[in-house]
Symmetry: C2
Subunit: 338 residues, 2 copies
């Protein structure tokens, strides 16, 4: 579907895409017993950008960890050095009513979460399940950041805020965690290089509360891997339309990965109920941030707005008086709008 | 204020309280340079229960970590072995409109978060800021749980669910973290001993989303220290009346600690604006869970409801047509209601 949209927009703007498919996650496990086959990673490395679809499903939920779909995703992030994950939580005027929050609370919300993606407790060593002296098991993960890791993502945070509303909120747990103390110190030092940015700090528990209480106070948020995982999902859900949200994962150089914020939604798989727009908007994000084709990105985003203007909705964002359509039909209408 | 309420209810029911004051947090730092003086901890140990007020403030925010108010709180939890933290997020019918969420989403929400409080990344070793081989700093904390730690809090989760709606949701990040994998395995095994409880598992990012999307799906949640910190605050904020919420921290034996969920709110300190009801309801929770005086607890809780019935509100829970009062006046009215 997103590929059809890219082809259509490519024709209009005379961009030729060279599409290649590679396996990751559940389908890769079925074919090769590995969630990220070496050939797939190499193929991604050779590409200009990677457009990713959701990767899990009940079928693979009980495999040992090294064979789980999620492990493939983590290996792709690490393998391509994608340390910066950009997750917008924007609410379109058409979709205000899809939110579980009051209209006046969410109208106009436009947050960008900049999440560190290749460090923190997701990758810190040591990790594993070990035996203690008394013979019982102890599960261990290490939440760690070096100064250079913090600076690198911090800069992306400041630069992102610069292109947006000029406000950056750094989220940590510096009142308890040493790793957060170092995080806060470095971000505070970096701020000297960005005098035009208004920097604030919040503890992660307070940030979760403030997102619920008054999300409009946020512009750009920068935070570590785990806190970013939790807060970006909470922020996405505030909009009530997580089926609409794309994300970008970027490294220093080399291809970025573009994918919907939502997962594979195995509960509705095969029922033609899913919202294809997050995948399509991920393709637009790829054009903008990965392939330097902003006018193609614009075209796709405008087509999505047009479809919403016409009143078409998938079930997840449906509201009274709107035209309810399935995944396939939504795709066809979108191609028409293009 | 909470002390006055306890005295009043004690007179009615012929309970004599022996009150003693001990210093912790900011005031303790001012007096002794330590956030939890040994004498305070000993005094708490000798008591039947501890009623705690909020402990921080801007004044102490920039002290080194070992002298920060939060460090005193963590030392109290560890010192008294308070491994189980019970945080209700209940919405009273009077206060539905104070929520940022739609009425139909929050009406009837009644969640209890059971948070592990003396383990996980808050206390795991090693921790600190170390120098790497290349000479840069690395901040490190360790997220760890042993089987016995998980079983101990897991049992509190199941027992709590038994006294409530019979549903327990365990929250972890088992698709990424080894410590969460062990957590999930043990909780799943424990479930055999509680066939009457309906157990489910959620990843922490999804749990944060589901709390925003449809909080009524939750009854009791059991989770680790950090996830519990974040989720209980998000859940509390859903109710829109965090100024109303008490919490209890309990150990195997010995005194429990009872305190409001909200912090010290330094932004409104000294302005007679705070909502005293969380502190009062913490006293009620102390009577119920710490001192085995359920009828005294009932009396206090009924008085709080009466005050709300009469239409009195502090600013944080105010809505149109209600009588806005300050902290002091709210207290006086409450004593009348008793
Ligand atoms: C599937 C999982 C490993 C992943 C994560 O935790 O990073 C997902 O939740 C996400 O946010 O992309
Ligand atoms: C003050 C802080 C150390 C504490 C915590 O993180 O546990 C607080 O946020 C809480 O939830 O009681």
């Amino acid at each position: 579907m997103a590929v059809d949209v890219l082809k259509a927009v490519g024709q209009q703007l005379e961009i030729t895409f060279d599409f290649q498919e590679a396996l990751i996650g559940g389908v890769a496990i079925d074919a090769t017993e590995e969630p990220l086959p070496a050939a797939s990673l190499e193929q991604c490395r050779q590409s200009d950008a990677v457009l990713l679809a959701a990767i899990g499903g009940y079928k693979w939920d009980n495999l040992p960890r090294h064979q789980r779909p999620e492990t493939g995703l983590l290996a792709l992030r690490a393998g391509l050095g994608l340390f910066a994950n950009l997750r917008p939580a924007t609410i379109l005027p058409h979709l205000v009513d899809a939110s579980s929050l009051k209209r006046e609370v969410v109208e106009g919300v436009d947050i960008m979460v900049v999440r560190e993606l290749t460090g923190g407790v997701y990758f810190g060593q040591p990790k594993g399940i070990f035996e203690t002296e008394t013979g019982e098991k102890r599960g261990v993960n290490t939440m760690a950041y070096t100064e250079s890791e913090i600076d690198r993502i911090g800069r992306v945070g400041f630069e992102t805020a610069k292109k947006r509303g000029g406000k950056l909120c750094s989220v940590d747990k510096a009142n308890v965690l040493d790793v957060s103390q170092l995080w806060r110190d470095r971000i505070t030092q970096l701020a000297d290089q960005y005098p035009e940015i208004e920097l604030s700090h919040l503890y992660v528990d307070n940030a979760a509360m403030q997102l619920v209480r008054w999300p409009k106070q946020f512009d750009t948020i920068v935070t570590g891997n785990l806190f970013g995982d939790i807060l970006s999902d909470a922020a996405a859900m505030l909009t009530g339309s997580i089926g609409m949200l794309p994300s970008a994962s970027l490294g220093e150089s080399g291809p970025g990965v573009f994918e919907p914020v939502h997962g594979s939604a195995p509960d509705i798989a095969g029922q033609d109920k899913a919202n294809p727009l997050a995948q399509v908007l991920s393709a637009a994000m790829m054009l903008r941030y990965g392939l330097d084709q902003p006018s193609a990105a614009d075209k796709i985003e405008q087509a999505v707005l047009k479809v919403l203007d016409w009143g078409y909705r998938t079930g997840d964002i449906g509201s009274e008086g709107m035209k309810l359509v399935g995944c396939r039909e939504m795709g066809e209408i979108l191609l028409k709008a293009l």
